[in-house]
Amino acid sequence: MHPAPSVVLFSTLSGLGFGFLAFLGWGALNATGWTAFFLWGLGYGLAVAGLVASTFHLGNPKNALKAFTQWRTSWLSREAWASVATLLILAPVALSDIFALGLAQLVGQIGGALALLTVLTTAMIYTQIRAVPRWHHWLTPVMFLTFALAGGAMLSARGWAPILLLTLGAVLFALWKVGDGAFARAGQTMGTATGLDRLGVPAVFDPAHTAGNYLKREMIFVVGRKHAAKLRKLALALASILPAILLLFPLGPWGIALAAFLHLAGALAARWLFFAEAEHVVGLYYGARG
């Protein structure tokens, strides 16, 4: 799949943002005043920046409001509802933190749960797609949620953040290992795609079109996979291991900022791979796989 920068940025930033908002909603913050303002602002900023980035992916964004209508069947529509509901419900919690108003904790608890639900809806957009076997697995939502929880715990300086960060590393590793065999396990070949397995073993004779098209650009992305092995190591080190080690030292806010910076770089690499390594079965018609 084509790793569109808008989608890679969107899902990474909003995942981290909603993860942080979840912890803020659950009352991770002791501070009030400007510190609270800055930290809530960071959570909202990341979440909203991600959502804004996602609209760059739309071909016809003027209809964006219609995306709220199909929540009964569409995970993308559910994501729209969940994200807006989270941002609205947590707003009074943020104000209460900043101005020390003492709002009931229950509101924050609900908002925090909704923030995680938002991340789950994002993950399900990809998980539901059977035509991309690598994504169509329960580890995909686990990976998205672990990213949100680890990132949120790190930004809100939880003592057990390193454990979550290392768990994230294990989840990423499992996702890659399971994902590598996913396409073969789905059992689709050029033979089943064309039905010509009835006759014998098909191979592309002459391409259907000599130039590119939307399908090839969007779903038959191959460039850069040769660096996948290196990128995996880099993503694992940056998103998981290095920030986990860094957080073991009492470096204060600057230590957390550095860890967050490394984590985000690793998260972007991992998310880029999530798209670039995912193969769509439509590639079979073009000979992208046996």
């Binding site: 995306a67 009964r72 069947t73 529509s77």
Partner: protein, 242 residues
């Protein structure tokens, strides 16, 4: 609503005969022509070095290694299969993508489309292409603007690809009616679904290419076994002994 209808009254669709298709691309051109005039199918740099464009129908060709006998070339038209269990419909966040309860045709309401591309991802068959100029999703409409169009002569009330096919490799009809011509063809010729394991339950069916038995011996074969006589015969014997 992007919920799929429980059942559809009819199942209008295509039956494509891979035995008769010659890969002439006439259906590609007819489809592009009719639908470009209707919903608009843009091209980018059409006469330049890197042409690209939106098509609702594409014809691939494959060489099939057959266990016994020579390889067979099969031309293979690929377009929307108007699936019963269409994954492209349920993923749509705006309700732009829908399946009609009356005849089963899967359509895009372009006025509601946000161009997110998720429906194209959900389709295993590559049946949907985003129009680069309009930013909305395009797909086969089964020429819904022809098949019910009473201003057209009756013989033209079928999809443009079917109407134009010079070898009659494309058939249009109601696959829910077991007595229809298309249903009979499917039954007689063993019509099949593409990637049935994807759970999409396609309406369109493909008729397999007929097996062309093992290649017969060349009519020139008797001439290959030449018995040389005279000087050539003597040379043949001598050289054979060395």
């Amino acid at each position: 609503m992007t919920a799929l209808p429980q059942t559809t009254e009819k199942k209008l669709g295509l039956v494509i005969d891979l035995d008769t298709c010659v890969g002439c691309q006439a259906c590609v051109t007819a489809c592009k022509g009719w639908n470009d005039a209707g919903i608009g199918l843009s091209d980018q740099d059409p006469y330049g070095a890197d042409p690209s464009g939106t098509f609702l129908n594409r014809v691939h060709s494959y060489q099939v290694a057959v266990p016994e006998g020579p390889a067979q070339v099969v031309t293979f038209p690929r377009s929307c299969l108007h699936c019963d269990n269409a994954p492209c419909v349920t993923v749509c966040p705006t309700g732009a993508s829908y399946k009609r309860a009356e005849d089963g045709i899967v359509l895009v309401n372009e006025d509601a489309c946000i161009g997110c591309g998720l429906c194209a991802w959900a389709c295993p068959y590559g049946a949907r292409e985003m129009d680069a100029a309009q930013g909305v999703m395009k797909k086969c409409t089964l020429c819904v603007d022809r098949i019910y169009n009473e201003t057209l002569p009756e013989e033209d009330r079928e999809p443009a690809c079917v109407r134009t096919c010079p070898t009659n490799a494309r058939h249009f009809g109601d696959l829910a009616d077991p007595e229809s011509q298309v249903s009979k063809l499917v039954a007689q010729r063993g019509g099949y679904d593409l990637m049935p394991d994807m759970g999409t339950k396609p309406t369109n069916k493909y008729l397999p290419p007929r097996r062309k038995g093992p290649g017969e011996a060349s009519p020139l074969a008797p001439l290959m076994d030449i018995k040389a006589t005279g000087i050539a015969g003597w040379l043949d014997r001598m050289l054979g002994k060395i």
